[in-house]
């Protein structure tokens, strides 16, 4: 979501070069590792809540929850996943075009006293996560908030770091990191899963 503009712009401004850095299989393996790291850091699945940030953080949170449920039988993946919309908390509302907010859905147990793991696709400036922390504060008071991202591309503008990272990708600010997930992205009618870096040069 940090690359919000970049990931959602698909048709216009065709880039000069694009290279795939993570395949569908690489994404699966990274998510499996993150799922196990989350269980390990939490010493189980007690009080765990995964909140995905729209759009692509939410399908990632669902995939991680499925892997957690596979590793810890007796866990209902649907009961620990929620979606957290941060649109109204962004610091660029005045400057970018007006965005349409997505629904915020919390698991039935709420987030008070829970261990909340925020899930997003790309960690870039850190501003989306700052907005997410504000949004969480208006919804309840979790015991702990952690951050899991599929890709950390650097260039932070705020003192924010991820607890669980799928892949560290050194990038130039002129490049765009595009995460495509089968739940929302298709190519030629087939679901597409990949992470690609698109250069401007």
């Amino acid at each position: 979501m940090d690359t919000g503009d970049a990931t959602q712009r698909t048709s216009e401004s065709q880039p000069k070069s694009a290279r795939t850095v993570l395949s569908g299989g690489d994404i699966d393996r990274a998510l499996t590792r993150i799922a196990h790291e989350i269980i390990e850091a939490n010493k189980g699945v007690q009080d765990l809540v995964l909140l995905g940030i729209p759009r692509r953080g939410f399908p990632l949170a669902q995939r991680i929850a499925q892997r957690i449920a596979a590793a810890e039988p007796g866990t209902d993946p649907a009961a620990i996943v929620g979606q957290l919309d941060v649109t109204m908390y962004r610091d660029d509302l005045r400057h970018s075009t007006a965005r349409t907010p997505s629904p915020t859905n919390l698991p039935a147990g709420g987030i008070d006293g829970k261990v909340v793991v925020l899930v997003d696709d790309v960690l870039y400036s850190g501003r989306t996560i700052r907005a997410a922390l504000d949004a969480i504060a208006d919804l309840g008071r979790p015991r702990i908030v952690r951050l899991a991202v599929l890709v950390d591309r650097g260039h932070r503008e705020l003192p924010i770091r991820a607890d669980h990272v799928g892949k560290n990708l050194p990038t130039a600010t002129s490049e765009k990191v595009r995460v495509r997930l089968g739940e929302v992205d298709t190519a030629n009618g087939l679901p597409l899963n990949e992470v690609a870096i698109e250069g401007q040069a």
Binding site: R94, A98, T104, D138, L139
Partner: protein, 325 residues
């Protein structure tokens, strides 16, 4: 979208966007912290040249839930009663630093005048002008109808219109800006509209409106509308005898208890009753109907806050590309 002045020129895309954002705004009203920081540090002025309860409170609540500062201006007790013009009032607001102006005026077209001139360059929201338009009322009615229609069809409401819905608008059409705004918006969203009124309370131009006209309320109810919107008899705008007396109006065009029972007789279990308020109980709507389980009057009020939050959010966020001068 720079201003919201009428529903006549509102595209279907924009209308559905407002309603979709309002769905998310409505969710805020159910949270523990009923506030969003989206409009922090912005000032919204409610400029009311005509009396209002619901609309003014609703706009005030909407602005406050988005963390904006609100200045309420009522013409009564202000320099307007000393003869200050709309232009001078607007320029005063500009100098104070208003970021958005919500205006209700007794003159049709006053909001459009404010938007078209350079008196003030803040976005203008029409909160009812004369007998012209009341777009946010139409949007909140459409929001209420859309939720009902989606529930009746067993679908989600996000992204949908009102295709196939039959809505009857009943009463004082002639003086009603609500009826006009609703007609344009409901048509844009795909609903079929029937206007029901005595011939004296229909404007001359109604023949050219994209709706069916029926002079008989019982007949219109027998046709099986999915929603019936009762309008207030606007006695303050009536300077002639539009109907013989209140009892006759109530019997022929009022939604009384007998007509409430008739809905059940017609097998219309899903038909909703709306009223924009304030209600003349006993005249155009009976207490039995207004307080029945079919009545959506209070839903309309709470939905009004969500819809106005959506409108203020859209007008005040994003690139407004205003030139600083």
């Amino acid at each position: 979208m720079k201003h919201l002045l009428s529903t006549l020129d509102l595209s279907r895309e924009d209308a559905i966007r407002i309603l979709d954002i309002a769905e998310e705004m409505a969710a805020v009203g159910t949270r523990e912290v009923k506030k969003l920081p989206a409009l922090r540090g912005r000032t919204v002025v409610n400029l009311f040249f005509e009396d209002s309860t619901r609309t003014r409170i609703s706009f005030e609540a909407a602005a406050k839930r988005l963390s904006a500062d609100v200045i309420n201006f009522a013409a009564k007790g202000s320099s307007v009663s000393k003869g200050e013009s709309l232009k001078d009032t607007a320029q005063t607001l500009q100098a104070i630093g208003a970021d958005a102006v919500v205006i209700r005026h007794w003159a049709s077209g006053a909001p459009a005048r404010l938007a078209a001139t350079d008196w003030i360059d803040a976005p203008v929201v029409n909160a009812g002008d004369g007998t012209h338009e009341h777009p946010t009322q139409a949007l909140l009615d459409a929001f209420t109808l859309r939720r009902h229609w989606a529930r009746a069809n067993g679908t989600g409401s996000l992204g949908t219109g009102l295709a196939g819905m039959k809505v009857a608008i009943v009463g004082d059409i002639l003086h009603s800006r609500v009826a006009r705004s609703n007609l344009w918006l409901l048509r844009t969203l795909g609903a079929e509209v029937t206007m029901v009124a005595p011939p004296t309370l229909l404007p001359v131009a109604a023949d050219s409106w994209p709706c069916t006209i029926n002079y008989d309320l019982d007949d219109a109810l027998a046709a099986g509308p999915d929603a019936v919107m009762m309008l207030r008899v606007q006695a303050e705008r009536m300077n002639a005898a539009f109907f013989p007396n209140a009892r006759e109006y109530s019997r022929r065009w009022g939604f009384d208890d007998a007509r409430l029972a008739a809905l059940d007789d017609h097998g219309l279990a899903q038909t909703l009753i709306l009223h924009p308020g304030p209600m003349n109980r006993g005249l155009e709507i009976s207490s039995g109907a207004a307080d029945s389980s079919r009545s959506a009057v209070l839903d309309q009020v709470s939905n009004g806050v969500a819809v106005r939050m959506a409108v203020l959010y859209l007008l005040l966020s994003g690139d407004q590309q205003r030139t600083a001068n």
